[in-house]
Amino acid sequence: MAAASPAMHQRVFGADFQSPVLLASGTCGYGQEFAGLIPLDELGGLVTKAVSVEPRGGNSPHRIAETPGGMINAIGLENPGLKAFVSDKLPWLRDNLRRAHVLVNVVGWAVDDYAAVVRGLDGKDGFLGFEINVSCPNVKDGALFGTEMRELARLVTALRASTDRPLVVKLTPTVPDVGVAARVCEEAGADGVSAINTFPGMVVDIARRVPVLGNVSGGVSGPAILPMGVHATWRASRSCRLPVMGIGGIRTASEALQYILAGACLVQIGTASFVDPAAAISVQEGIAEHLAANGEDRLEQLVGTLRAAPEGVDPDSTVAG
């Protein structure tokens, strides 16, 4: 079995990951919804759907729609809230995932919201650490935590003071340079970054002259964002020393390996799990096969080994055309 391959093991966030492949937040519920479909415990892990202090009902339908090369969603961060997560969701994760690691995705609309979730979970069993969703509007001024570097630093600093567990920040793509945001997270005490969250977008129903999504706009995911995710991972991994989790549009092992060469030590599978619930399993099997076929005995020796750009090309340039 691929997951048991010693070449795939890595030590990240102070823990042994049997595989570099995790399920992305929002695409695997709280684990239980996926348990009947694939052997979850053979994966590197999963990131739960977002948890906020209070329960959230979420947006009006439609919440999802198809887009060229992927899909768009505006679920609205529907979740049962911290208390119900602890009583109804976390015990299942604790009892059923022994080898796969769990990161709890945390959302908030003020620093205190995030901190309350982190502190409320800190002493509990059943998960390794936190992934912080900073693509939420701050109630103070409506700007996303992830786009205002001062707010991002303030948030990460506060959360760092609230937990010793691994603290990973899921970066938002709507910044001039994801690398700068990654460095801000590092300096504020984060243990890792996920690159990258969905891209804002919208779809119009031309017959009814309305947005297709109840929320008007949403986040675009799927193969369409694969190159942007790889680029974000590259920028993040070149800009800080933190472990990077690569995410965006991965369907195959070769796509996951693009992220790994660009600097990701772990990758997350999202939309592809809808296309085939076993996508993450086949990705990790494909990575193990790639290692074996190329005589690589450690995955970690591949991480970030993208060869330098040809002479005369600035590898940090983001200019197109």
Binding site: G29, E33, G36, G58, G69, M71, N73, S282
Partner: protein
């Protein structure tokens, strides 16, 4: 269309659905699988679906060659709960799909149901001879333009004198009209609802419908069949 999947065929109940796509072979241009009501099963392990082409994805599925592999996840969702009652089905358009399965099941148990089937025009009508062959029932056909069957809306076919359990599947305005009829005549009603779906298993929370208490209900796992009293259909 028919797919050989014995596990799904053996455990499916009328009202349940499958998520259908080509797995990781699906072209990126229509990536996400589609939910389809199960329309028939056979003892040999076949699962049949009723396919109407809307866009690229359904067109590609309709052109699948015999022998091609597809990915079906299912059976998913809650089924109709009919408990040997007399049944009156109201189908709008491709909402006919779950009733083909139900009607054939009832026929195989020697029971009859009323199958009201409406379409916008004659061109859209699924072949009545095929429906007869699949279900052992004669559908009572309505078209809005009168091009086939009785002219008018399918809801006109509902029998106000009956006390049968009403089941409905179709566009929202039709469901609203059936719900109004059921309220007026004190009839029990179960609805199979449609919404855009991502995973079909409750993980993505993408396919919600409004519950009577204001909460969002997941069409995939809390439905797709609901008792009408559980829903706020608006309108």
């Amino acid at each position: 269309m028919e797919f050989a999947c014995p596990d799904i065929a053996a455990s499916a109940h009328p009202g349940q659905f499958v998520m259908l796509g080509l797995g990781l072979e699906t072209p990126a241009s229509w990536l996400v699988p589609r939910p389809f009501s199960i329309s028939w099963t056979s003892p040999g392990g076949v699962v049949g679906i009723l396919l109407r082409t809307y866009g690229e994805g359904t067109l590609a599925l309709s052109r699948l060659e015999v022998g091609r592999e597809a990915l079906l996840v299912g059976p998913l969702g809650r089924s109709f709960e009919t408990e040997s009652r007399t049944i009156e089905c109201v189908a709008g358009g491709v909402g006919l799909a779950p009733f083909i399965f139900l009607a054939s099941r009832e026929a195989s148990r020697g029971r009859r149901l009323q199958l009201l089937y409406g379409e916008r025009d004659a061109e859209a009508v699924f072949d009545p001879a095929l429906i007869r062959r699949l279900t052992g029932h004669e559908p009572k056909l309505f078209t809005e333009d009168g091009g086939a069957g009785t002219r008018g809306r399918v809801t006109a076919g509902l029998d106000p004198e009956s006390s049968a359990l009403v089941l409905a599947c179709g566009p929202t305005p039709m469901l609203q009209a059936v719900a109004a009829f059921a309220r007026r005549h004190g009839r029990d009603l179960q609805l199979s609802v449609e919404e855009h779906m991502g995973c079909g298993t409750g993980a993505c929370q993408g396919c919600v419908v409004r519950g009577a208490d204001g909460r969002w209900l997941k069409a995939c796992v809390e439905g797709s069949v609901f008792d009408a009293r559980e829903l706020d259909l608006g309108g």
